[in-house]
C-alpha cells in the first residue's frame, strides 16, 4: 500500500495546484480513520466538509465507515448546510447499525419539526423517519400525525412519504397509520395526492373503502399531480374501478359494436347476457375521460399506466386510442421498448384490430437488439390475418437471412404459428420451411425440423416426400431436439415411408449409446412402433435397442424400455394391455396448437412487474373480476357543500391562477354533490378563472334561508319566530335601498339574506362529528366597530356531547386582531349553536388562522374574507358621491369594460349581484343607465365607490374609486366576475 500512499500524495498535490475541481476525492483507508476524526472535531467548517465528503465517497463506493459514527453524529447540528446534509446521509445509512448513538441526534430533528420554515420541518421529518431505529417509533408516529395536519402541503407530502417507512419498521402501527392515510387522502392538494396514494398502496391496499369519498377528487386532480404520482394513482384507480363498476363489454351495451370484427370476444360471457341495457356509471366515465389526456405524457410509465387502464376498463370501441401512444413509445430507449412490446404482445392477442394499422411500426431492423427483435416478431405474428399475411411473410423472408441466428430461429417458429393459424398459407409456409432444411446453419435447420414436425401433424398423408426428405437429414443434423422430432415423425407416419423407416432405426441402433436422452426415448418409441407395424424386418433391431436401453444410465430410459417390452412383446405373463398395444401407440394424435406465450397473460394487470415475469411478484394486488352487480354508487357522493376556504388549500390556489381555467377545475369541482358535478364543470370551462373563487350559485336557497334565520335569531333574541318571518318579507323590498349603518335596530337586522353565503370552517368528518360553518353576517360588531363580524354555526353530529368550545392559538399577520366568541360550554349531541366573533382583517384578505378547541380535540382552521366583506355600507347622496369621486381620481380609479351576463342586463339584478359580491349600499342616482354604490373599509374607513354604467347590448363599464388600491383592484375582479356570469 505504500505505492498507494504515493499516488495519493501525488493526486493531493495535483489538486492543490489545480484547485480546479474540489470534487476529485482520493482517499486512503487508514485503519482507524484518525485523520478524518480529527477533521470532524476541528472548528473549521471547510475541514469538516472535506472530511464528510470523503466519508460519503466511501459510502458511495460501498466501503465501511461505521466506526466514524460518534465523530460524525456530533456534527448533526452543524451550521453549514452542506455538512449537515452529508451528516444526514451518513446517519440514515448507519443508524440501523448504531442504534444507541443514533438516538443522540433525535432531539435535533424534533426541534426541526417545530421550525417556522416549512422546508426545514419537512426535511427534519424526512430524516427522522428514515432512521431505522425501533425505539423511536412512538416519536415518529407523533411527528407523522402532527405533520399530517400541518398548514404546508409540502410537509403533509413528507408525512405521506414517512408512512410506509414507519410501516416497514413496525407493522404493528398499521391501524394508526391507516387513520393518518385516511386523513391525508382527504387532502385537496396535488402535491399530497400522489404520495398518499403510494402510502395507501404500501400499507393498506385492501382498504378500498377509504377511496370512495376521494374517488372523484383524485380523478379531477390527476392531471396536475406530478408524473410519478400519476402512475401510482392510475394503477390504484384501475383496481378500484374493477370492484365498483360493471363490465362495459358485458352485453353489447353502449360501446360494443364489434368494431374490430376479427376479435375473439373472450370476455363476453354468454351466460351473463342480461336483458337490462348497460349504462356506464358516470364515475367510470369520469375516470376514462380524465386519464385520456395523459396518453400524451412525456413519461413512458404514465402512458403505459393509462394504456392498461383503458385496456382493463374501457368499452371495446374506445380502447383503440391507446395504440397510437404505445407505438410512439417504441421510439424510446430499448428498455422501454422491451417492456412496451411485452404489453403490446399481450394486448394484441385480445384486441388485434387495435394495432393492425400500425403493423409497419413493428417491422424489424437489423440494428435492433435480439430481445427486441423477438418481441416484435411476436407482435407481428399476433397481428397476422388473412389479409396481411402475404406482407408479413415477405418480411419474414428477409428476417430468415439475418446474421442473428437466434432471431432466425424465432422467425421460423413465427412462420410455423402463422401457418397453423391461417390455413390458406399453410402449404406456402411448409414449402418455405422445407427449403430451409438445406440451410447451412444447423440451428436454422433444427428449428425448421421442429416446426415442420408440428405442421405435418396436421396433414401427414399429403407430405410423405417431406418426411422422406427429413429422414435423410438424420445423418447430418446433430441438434438433439431436431433429431428427436425427425424420429418421432418417422415412427408416427411409418406407413408412409415403409422402406426408409427400418433403415433409420438400424442407423439409430448403431449410435444409440452416444445419443442424448430425448433422442434415446424417441429411438425406443420408433422401435416400438415399427415392431408393431413391421415386426418381420425390425424384430431383432427392436430387441437390440431395448437391451441397450435396459442398461442405460438414465432411469427414465430404463423404465421406458421395461414398460415397452412388456407392452409389445407378448409373453404369457403380459396382461390384457398388450392386446391394445397397437391402439395405444398408433392412435391418431391431435395436432399441436402453436400458441403465443403471451396468451392469457392479461389476467395480470398489464404494465405490472408480475405481467412481465408472468409470475406473481411479491406485493402484487390481483386485478379483481368485474362485479356481477354494481355496488352502491352513492358511496362516492361527497356531502360537503363547498369548502372554499378549507384549511391548507391556500398555497395551491395562489399559484393555481397561472394555470388558466382548465387547471383550476380539478381542485374544486370535486366538492360538488354528484348531480351537479358535470354541469358545474362545464360552466367552469366557460368561466374565466380567478385565483379566488367567486360567490357560487350552486348554493341552494334552503341553506341560505336557514342561515339567515339563525343569524337573526341570534342577534335579536327577543323577537319571535313570526316576527322574523314577517321581516323577511319586508327585507326583500327594502333590501337594496340605502342602508346606512346608524339607522337603528330594524334596518340593521335586514341584512340581505340572499347575499349571505356560508363557508365551511370544519367538515364533520375532519371534525369528528363537529361541523362548523361561518358567514359574514354584515352586522356591525358591537364590541369593536373596526372588526368584521363572523357568525359561526356549530353543529354536533356526533353521538356524544361536545364541551368547552373555544378558540386558541390565534396566528395573525401583524396588525390583525381577533375578538373571540365566548366559550360554548356544552353542545349536546345533535344540537346546533351559533356564536359571533369579530376579526379585524386590517383591510387585507389575509387569512386568520387559529385552533378551534373542544374538551378533547384541537382543529386547525382558517378564515379568509372575500374582499367585499371588508367594507360596510355608507349612505351618500348623489352629489356627495360625485364630490368624493372627484377626489379619488387617477391612481385611485380603476375602470374596466365588460359585457354583462345575459341574465344580468336589468338594473335589479345588477344591484343584487354587486351587493352580493360586496357589502355596499346603493347611492340614489338620476340616470337609469348608472348604478352607484358606496361603502367604507371596516378598519381604516377609506371610501369605496363603485359605479356600473350600462350601454347597449350588455356592454358596461365598471369604475371603482378607492384610495386603497389593492382593495380597489381586488374588488374590481370580484364584481367583474359577479356581473359577467
Amino acid at each position: 500500500s505504500s505505492k498507494n500512499i504515493i499516488n495519493y500524495n501525488f493526486y493531493e498535490l495535483v489538486i492543490l495546484f489545480n484547485s480546479a475541481n474540489d470534487n476529485k476525492i482520493f482517499y486512503l483507508i487508514w485503519s482507524s480513520h484518525d485523520d478524518l476524526k480529527e477533521m470532524l472535531d476541528s472548528n473549521k467548517d471547510s475541514l469538516k466538509l472535506e472530511a464528510m465528503k470523503r466519508i460519503v465517497a466511501m459510502i458511495a463506493r460501498g466501503k465501511n465507515a461505521s466506526d466514524l459514527f460518534p465523530a460524525v453524529v456530533k456534527n448533526v447540528a452543524c451550521k453549514n448546510i452542506e455538512v449537515k446534509k452529508l451528516v444526514y446521509v451518513y446517519l440514515v445509512r448507519y443508524a440501523e447499525e448504531q442504534q444507541d448513538l443514533a438516538l443522540l441526534s433525535i432531539s435535533t430533528f424534533q426541534r426541526g419539526l417545530k421550525d417556522p420554515n416549512q422546508l426545514i420541518r419537512a426535511s427534519a421529518l424526512r430524516v427522522l423517519s428514515s432512521i431505522r431505529v425501533t425505539i423511536i417509533v412512538p416519536i415518529m408516529m407523533l411527528a407523522i400525525k402532527e405533520a399530517a395536519s400541518d398548514m404546508s402541503p409540502y410537509v403533509r407530502k413528507t408525512a405521506a412519504h414517512a408512512i410506509p417507512k414507519l410501516y416497514s419498521l413496525d407493522p404493528e402501527q398499521k391501524d394508526q397509520l391507516i387513520e393518518v392515510i385516511e386523513k391525508l387522502l382527504a387532502d385537496k392538494t396535488t402535491l399530497v395526492a400522489g404520495s398518499v396514494v403510494m402510502a395507501f398502496e404500501e400499507v393498506c391496499p385492501e382498504r378500498i373503502d377509504l377511496i370512495h369519498k376521494n374517488y372523484r377528487k383524485l380523478c379531477n386532480l390527476l392531471i396536475d399531480v406530478e408524473e410519478w404520482g400519476q402512475v401510482v394513482i392510475i394503477n390504484m384507480l384501475t383496481r378500484y374501478a374493477r370492484t365498483q363498476f360493471l363490465n362495459p363489454n358485458i352485453n353489447g351495451g353502449s360501446g360494443d359494436k364489434t368494431f374490430y370484427g376479427s376479435d375473439e370476444d373472450e370476455d363476453e360471457d354468454e351466460e351473463e347476457k342480461e336483458k337490462k341495457p348497460y349504462v356506464m356509471d358516470p364515475d367510470h366515465r369520469l375516470l376514462l375521460r380524465n386519464t385520456k389526456p395523459l396518453l400524451q405524457s412525456r413519461n413512458a410509465a404514465v402512458v403505459m399506466a393509462v394504456a392498461q387502464l383503458y385496456f382493463h376498463l374501457a368499452p371495446k370501441a374506445e380502447v383503440g386510442v391507446i395504440a397510437k401512444a404505445l407505438v410512439r413509445l417504441l421510439r424510446s430507449h430499448s428498455e422501454v421498448q422491451y417492456v412496451v412490446l411485452q404489453n403490446v404482445a399481450t394486448m394484441s392477442i385480445k384486441r388485434r384490430g387495435m394495432f393492425e394499422p400500425y403493423l409497419k411500426s413493428f417491422y424489424i431492423r437489423s440494428t435492433d437488439p435480439t430481445q427486441i427483435k423477438v418481441l416484435k416478431l411476436e407482435v407481428l405474428t399476433n397481428l397476422a390475418n388473412e389479409t396481411n399475411i402475404s406482407t408479413i411473410l415477405r418480411e419474414f423472408q428477409t428476417y430468415i437471412k439475418s446474421m442473428d441466428k437466434d432471431f432466425v430461429a424465432a422467425t421460423i417458429q413465427a412462420i410455423g404459428r402463422c401457418a397453423t393459424n391461417i390455413s390458406e398459407v399453410r402449404d406456402t409456409c411448409l414449402n418455405g420451411l422445407v427449403q430451409l432444411l438445406s440451410n447451412r446453419d444447423e440451428l436454422v435447420v433444427a428449428e425448421s425440423v421442429v416446426v415442420i414436425k408440428k405442421l405435418l401433424q396436421m396433414q401427414p398423408e399429403k407430405h410423405s416426400d417431406i418426411i422422406k426428405h427429413m429422414a435423410k437429414l438424420t445423418d447430418n443434423i446433430q441438434v438433439p431436439m431436431a433429431r428427436a422430432s425427425i424420429l418421432w415423425l418417422i415412427g408416427e407416419y411409418c406407413e408412409h415411408v415403409p422402406k426408409i423407416a427400418p433403415d433409420v432405426l438400424r442407423k439409430m441402433a448403431k449410435s444409440f449409446t452416444n445419443e442424448e436422452d430425448i433422442v434415446k426415448l424417441q429411438i425406443i418409441n420408433l422401435a416400438a412402433k415399427l415392431y408393431l407395424t413391421n415386426s418381420k424386418q425390425t424384430k431383432l433391431l427392436t430387441q437390440y435397442v431395448l437391451n441397450l436401453a435396459k442398461y442405460d444410465q438414465n432411469y427414465d430410459i430404463r423404465d421406458r424400455a421395461r414398460f415397452i417390452r412388456q407392452l409389445i412383446v407378448p409373453t404369457e405373463k403380459s396382461g390384457a394391455l398388450s392386446k391394445y398395444a397397437k391402439k395405444l401407440f398408433l392412435a391418431l394424435k391431435p395436432a399441436p396448437v402453436l400458441e403465443s406465450p403471451f396468451k392469457d397473460r392479461d389476467h395480470f394487470q398489464l404494465g405490472s412487474l408480475s405481467h412481465l415475469l408472468n409470475a406473481k411478484a411479491g406485493g402484487y394486488q390481483e386485478l379483481p373480476d368485474w362485479p356481477e352487480a354494481a355496488p352502491d354508487p352513492s358511496v362516492r357522493n361527497v356531502e360537503v357543500k363547498e369548502s372554499v376556504r378549507a384549511v391548507g388549500t391556500v398555497t395551491h390556489r395562489d399559484t393555481g391562477a397561472l394555470w388558466g381555467p382548465q387547471r383550476m377545475e380539478g381542485s374544486e369541482s370535486c366538492s360538488f354533490p354528484r348531480a351537479q358535478s358535470s354541469e358545474e364543470e362545464e360552466r367552469k370551462h366557460q368561466r374565466k378563472s380567478k385565483p379566488r373563487k367567486s360567490e357560487s350559485e350552486s348554493e341552494s336557497d334552503e341553506d341560505e334561508e336557514s342561515e339567515s334565520e339563525s343569524s337573526q335569531s341570534e342577534s335579536e333574541d327577543s323577537e319571535s319566530e313570526a316576527e322574523v318571518k314577517k321581516k323577511k318579507k319586508v327585507q326583500t323590498r327594502v333590501n337594496y335601498r340605502g342602508r346606512p349603518q346608524e339607522e337603528g335596530v330594524f334596518l340593521q337586522t335586514i341584512a340581505p339574506s340572499s347575499t349571505l353565503k356560508s363557508y365551511e370552517l370544519l367538515h364533520r368528518i375532519t371534525g369528528e362529528g363537529l361541523s362548523v360553518e361561518y358567514c359574514f353576517s354584515r352586522q356591525p360588531f358591537s364590541p369593536d366597530a373596526n372588526m368584521v363580524a363572523v357568525q359561526m354555526q356549530f353543529t354536533n353530529n356526533a353521538s356524544s356531547d361536545t364541551k368547552n368550545l373555544h378558540i386558541e392559538d390565534v396566528k395573525l399577520q401583524s396588525g390583525m386582531r381577533v375578538k373571540e366568541f365566548p366559550e360554548i360550554e356544552l353542545l349536546p349531541a345533535g344540537e346546533t349553536a351559533t356564536a359571533v366573533m369579530g376579526i379585524d382583517f386590517c383591510d387585507s384578505t389575509q387569512a386568520a388562522n387559529f385552533q378551534l378547541c373542544t374538551h378533547t380535540r384541537k382543529f386547525f382552521v382558517s378564515i379568509q374574507p372575500p374582499v367585499g366583506e371588508l367594507m360596510r355600507p355608507v349612505f351618500l347622496t348623489e352629489n356627495e358621491f360625485k364630490k368624493e369621486q372627484g377626489q379619488l381620481m387617477g391612481m385611485n380609479e380603476i375602470t374596466e369594460k365588460l359585457t354583462l351576463d345575459v341574465k344580468c342586463r336589468n338594473e335589479h339584478t345588477i344591484v343584487q349581484r354587486v351587493t352580493t359580491a360586496a357589502n355596499l349600499s346603493r347611492v340614489p342616482c338620476g340616470s337609469d343607465k348608472e348604478c352607484r354604490f358606496a361603502g367604507r373599509t371596516v378598519t381604516s374607513g377609506s371610501l369605496v365607490l363603485v359605479t356600473v354604467a350600462t350601454k347597449e347590448e350588455g356592454a358596461a363599464q365598471l369604475t371603482v374609486n378607492c384610495e386603497k388600491m389593492v382593495i380597489g383592484t381586488m374588488l374590481v375582479k370580484d364584481i367583474l366576475q359577479a356581473l359577467t356570469q
Partner: protein, 418 residues
C-alpha cells in the same frame, strides 16, 4: 419501491452504490453478471431479472449499467423511466454520463440521488428544482469554494418544490431575454432491395432553450398542426388548449428542455430524401466480393443534403475492403466489421460512388445475407414533414424577447436492405 441502485461499468465493476431503505449486499448483482455473461451483447441483457429474493431492473446508458433492486411489485416502466431520468440528470449536470465523470463528482452524485428518491419513491426529479438545491459543478465556483470554504449546496431552500409549476424557478433574471426553438425531425425508414419504401415514419422533437426573465407565458402556433399524428408534451404544456385550438400554451422551464415530441406515422406519405443504388455480391470462387454503391437525391425540397454517411455491418467472413470512393473517405474496421463511408455534402451533379472488391476469408462458406446499409444525413432549414411554426407570442411580461426557430431534418433509423 426502488430499494437500491448500483452503477456498474463495462468491466463489471460496481463503482457506486446507494440504498434508500436498509442496505442490500452487492452480491445481489451476481445474478445480473450471470445474465450479462449470457447475453454477449450488453444491449441484450434483459432489463428485468428475477432472483430468489429480489427483482433487478437495469438500463444501459453510456456504457454503464444502472441497476436497481426492487423487492415488491412495481411497474417496470416506472423504474426504467426513473433510471433514465437519473442518467439525464447526470448528463445535464456534468455534460456527460460516464464512469470517470461520476467518480469525479461522487459527492454531488450522491446528494442528487438522495434528493431524487425518498424511501424509494421519486421526490424531486425536475432539473430546475434540483439545481436550486444542489448546484452543478463549475470551475470558477470550485476555485472560489476551495478558497472560501463555500459549498455546492444551495443556501436557499427549494421553493420550486412547493409551487404548482415545479419546473420553473422563481425570480429568474436575464439581461438578454431570448427564446430559441429547434425543430428536429428524424426519418425512420426501411427501404428494400428494389428501392421501394417498406416503412417510413417521422419522429419530430422541439427542443427549446428559453432564457426569459420573470414568469413568461408563451404561446406557439403552427401553420399546419393537423400534420401531427401523435404528440407528447413537457408537463408545462396546457393540454386542453392544444386539444381545442391546436396551439402550445405554456410557462416554460428555465433553460434547455424538450417542449414536445411528435410522430408522423407510416400511414402518411413520408418524403425520402435520397435513393441508393447498390449491389453487393460475394463469390464462392476466389473468395472475394464486389461492392458498388451510388447515392443520389430524391425528395430534398431543393435543399442540400449534408453529413451524408453510410455504415455497413459486414458479415464476419469479410477480411478487408479495397474500394475507391469518388467523394469522401471510407474506413473498414476488421475487428468490428464496420465499413463506414463518410461522404459529406451530396452534389446532385456528380453523384458519389463507392466501388471495389472485398477480400474474404478462404474456406468459409459465403454469407447468405447481404448486409444492410444504414444511412446518416442532415438537411438544414427543412422540416421534412412540412411543419412550420407560425407565431410565438409572450404574455405576462413586458419586455420584448429575441425569438428564433431553427429546422433540421436528419436520418433516424434509416436502413436500406440489400
Amino acid at each position: 419501491m426502488i430499494h437500491s441502485l448500483f452503477l456498474i461499468n463495462h468491466l463489471g465493476d460496481i463503482f457506486l452504490e446507494k440504498h434508500w431503505k436498509s442496505v442490500i449486499s452487492r452480491s445481489v448483482c451476481d445474478y445480473f453478471f450471470e445474465a450479462r455473461e449470457k447475453a454477449v451483447d450488453p444491449e441484450n441483457v434483459p432489463p428485468v431479472l428475477q432472483t430468489p429474493h429480489h427483482y433487478l431492473i437495469s438500463i444501459y446508458r453510456g456504457k454503464l449499467f444502472f441497476l436497481s433492486v426492487i423487492q415488491t411489485e412495481v411497474p417496470p416502466l416506472f423504474v426504467i423511466e426513473f433510471l433514465h431520468r437519473v442518467a439525464d440528470t447526470f448528463q445535464d449536470y456534468f455534460g456527460e454520463c460516464s464512469e470517470s465523470v461520476i467518480s469525479d463528482n461522487l459527492v454531488i452524485v450522491y446528494e442528487l440521488l438522495e434528493e431524487m428518491l425518498d424511501n424509494g419513491f421519486p421526490l424531486a426529479t425536475e432539473s430546475n428544482v434540483l439545481k436550486e438545491m444542489i448546484r452543478p459543478p463549475n470551475i470558477l465556483r470550485s476555485v472560489v469554494n476551495t478558497l472560501t470554504g463555500g459549498s455546492n449546496v444551495g443556501e436557499t431552500l427549494p421553493q420550486g418544490q412547493l409551487s404548482n409549476i415545479p419546473w420553473r424557478r422563481a425570480g429568474v433574471k436575464y439581461a438578454n431575454n431570448e427564446a430559441y426553438f429547434d425543430v428536429t425531425e428524424e426519418i425512420d425508414a426501411i427501404v428494400d432491395k428494389s428501392g421501394t419504401t417498406v416503412s417510413a415514419e417521422i419522429q419530430g422533437v422541439i427542443e427549446a432553450c428559453v432564457k426569459l426573465s420573470g414568469m413568461p407565458d408563451l404561446t406557439m402556433s403552427f401553420m399546419n398542426p393537423r400534420l401531427l399524428d401523435d404528440v407528447s408534451f413537457h408537463p408545462c404544456v396546457r393540454f386542453r388548449r392544444w386539444e381545442s385550438e391546436r396551439v402550445l400554451s405554456f410557462i416554460p422551464p428555465d433553460g434547455n428542455f424538450t417542449l414536445m415530441t411528435y410522430h408522423i406515422s407510416s400511414q402518411n406519405l413520408v418524403a425520402i430524401p435520397v435513393y441508393v443504388k447498390q449491389s453487393i455480391n460475394f463469390f464462392e470462387a476466389g473468395s472475394c466480393g464486389r461492392l458498388d454503391i451510388t447515392i443520389g437525391p430524391k425528395q430534398t425540397m431543393g435543399k442540400t443534403v449534408e453529413d451524408l454517411k453510410v455504415t455497413i455491418h459486414m458479415p464476419k467472413a469479410v477480411l478487408n475492403a479495397n474500394l475507391t470512393a469518388t467523394q469522401g473517405n471510407y474506413t473498414y474496421d476488421c475487428t468490428t466489421k464496420m465499413l463506414v463511408w463518410d461522404i459529406g455534402k451530396l452534389n446532385p451533379q456528380k453523384l458519389p460512388n463507392l466501388r471495389g472488391s472485398l477480400s474474404m476469408q478462404t474456406g468459409v462458406p459465403n454469407p447468405e445475407e447481404n448486409p444492410s446499409l444504414n444511412i446518416d444525413l442532415k438537411i438544414q432549414q427543412l422540416a421534412i414533414s412540412g411543419l412550420k411554426v407560425s407565431r410565438l407570442d409572450m404574455y405576462g411580461e413586458k419586455y420584448k424577447p429575441f425569438k428564433g426557430v431553427k429546422y433540421v431534418t436528419k436520418a433516424g433509423k434509416f436502413q436500406v436492405r440489400t
